[in-house]
Amino acid sequence: MRVMIRLDGVGKTYSSKATRHTAIGSVSLEIAQGEFVCVVGPSGCGKSTLLNMVAGFQPATAGAITVNGVPVQPGAVPQGLGYLFQKDTVLPWLTVEQNVGLGLRFAHLQPDRIAEKVQGLLKLANLEPYAGYFPYQISGGMRQRTALLMTLACDPQVLLLDEPFGALDSHTKINLHRELHEIWRQLGQTIVMVTHDLDEAVALADRVIVLSGPPSRVLLDHPIDIPHPRDPYAVRETDAFGQHLKAIWAVLGREYQRTPDGTRSVTGAAA
């Protein structure tokens, strides 16, 4: 097993003159190359912060993070890392096609190489007919697909997904689950996805990590041994799915009861 992402005692404490709030206590994790890991936990538990720290958007205040063996420097995105946000990230003044090619233009690829690669990606996500559309002309699901293609265009080895389907309706969500799963099976990236949706986590992941409320730590590291290829929708009908869901919820549900809205320990942490 080759470790792609390593978190070693990673912590995050926000300090101001009056207060100190420890959002993340100490998280240690190893994520293997090609693994699909979902991170769940009560809201406010620092799931997104954790992803942000792996991407170099925010500095960790304790511990160390490496991606592909290279220590993450705050302010610099690690090589080969893609990130998908829940919020809209397509640029409204570019067409779908131009958006997908943005990263390739950043990399100064030849225009015909860009066009070729963009065509292939649009085909992959069935967005070909919308190539010339501006983002305001397409649905939220299509915009999120476009954003995924923008990321994939850069051939990331690691994909960080921060509740990427949180704003979408359930039908669109299921379609995107299938597409994402297919892409992952074909290209074999290492995927870490933060989600609120436990069903989604169990249906997609090889491993589900449950974080506690702040100061958060790993409560449960639960492997999902349902063999691939799976259909992320049909798998929900299986017994194995139900058992995994039950096992994870036993831990997560208790944590939700402890911090129903994830705010109690925020006030408790002020020192």
Binding site: K87, L91, C154
Partner: protein, 289 residues
């Protein structure tokens, strides 16, 4: 009898739609018609009231002060095709040239300054009180000084316009550039964009939308700036025409010059809107029909 039976068995007709008063006319056409009606009403009142002897004698509604549309039209004809044909054009060209040049200089420098300061928070905070101070100065009152410093020609006019319009463009560009959401910048970073690439492909286009929002005001203020600069000391331009007509107490000449300026404003702003529509065609605000 049969007709009664028929009406009893006829299902209730849906309530008749109110007759469309302008059936077949597009909104655009209706707006044009309303505009023409409003204009006709205004000109008609002006023309009519300045012909009532009582009003002429007892109020300001005296063609000596405010002329009247027919006299203004005669004056415009005289300046363009009539007795003084060719008189208007050099003045108009001088004013328009100074306006467009001033606008261009203010636009480019304001846009650049807005972008640079939005990228340098320390610089922006340092300069903020000075910028607010400059923007609060009574610039119109400083036109005589500007004229003394930069002479009686084009340069003084351009400097005046720059001084008036720069801040409009600057503040809007600054706000627009800062309004880009953080996660979009971070996303572009993960796509491998360097700070320079992100500046050009994200900050500039999104600031541009805000800059355009300032353009109609910028155009109108530019015209005002040029005309006021021309009041103080030049021998060409629409402002000069206004001042010289005042000194000869010729209201028709003055209003003819003012009419030309107003038309220039409308023309320039509508050109700017067309350009905006073209450049911002990705924005839903121009596609909601």
């Amino acid at each position: 009898m049969s007709s009664t039976m028929e009406s009893l068995h006829t299902p209730l007709a849906p309530p008749a739609a109110p007759p469309a008063r302008h059936a077949g006319l597009s909104d655009d056409a209706r707006v044009r018609i309303y505009q023409l009606v409003l204009l006709a009403l205004f000109l008609g009142l002006w023309e009519g009231l300045t012909r009532v002897p009582y009003l002429i004698k007892n109020t300001f509604l005296d063609p000596f002060f405010i002329s009247r549309p027919s006299l203004i039209a005669e004056q415009l004809w005289a300046w363009t095709f009539g007795a003084q044909a060719g008189f208007l054009m050099p003045h108009l060209a001088s004013t328009l040239g100074a306006t467009l040049l001033g606008l261009a200089v203010a636009g480019v420098t304001g846009f650049a300054a807005g972008l640079v300061l939005s990228q340098n928070p320390i610089l922006a905070r340092t300069l903020n009180p000075f910028i607010v101070c400059c923007n609060s100065l009574p610039r119109i009152a400083m036109v005589p000084l500007i004229t003394m410093m930069f002479g009686l020609g084009l340069l003084a006019k351009v400097v005046t316009v720059w001084f008036v319009v720069f801040f409009l463009i600057f503040f809007n560009t600054f706000k627009g550039s800062l309004s880009v959401e953080k996660h979009i910048l971070q996303f572009c970073q993960t796509l491998g964009g360097s700070p320079r690439q992100i500046l050009w492909s994200v900050r500039v286009p999104s600031a541009l939308a805000w800059t355009f929002a300032a353009l109609p005001n910028a155009i109108s203020f530019s015209l005002v700036g040029v005309v006021i600069a021309e009041f103080v000391g030049t021998t060409t331009g629409m402002g000069y025409l206004i001042v010289s007509s005042l000194s000869t107490l010729n209201a028709s000449e003055m209003f003819a010059a003012i009419t030309v300026l107003g038309l220039c404003g409308v023309g320039l702003v509508s050109l700017a809107e067309r350009l905006e529509r073209r450049l911002l065609r990705w924005s839903p605000q121009f596609n909601e029909r």
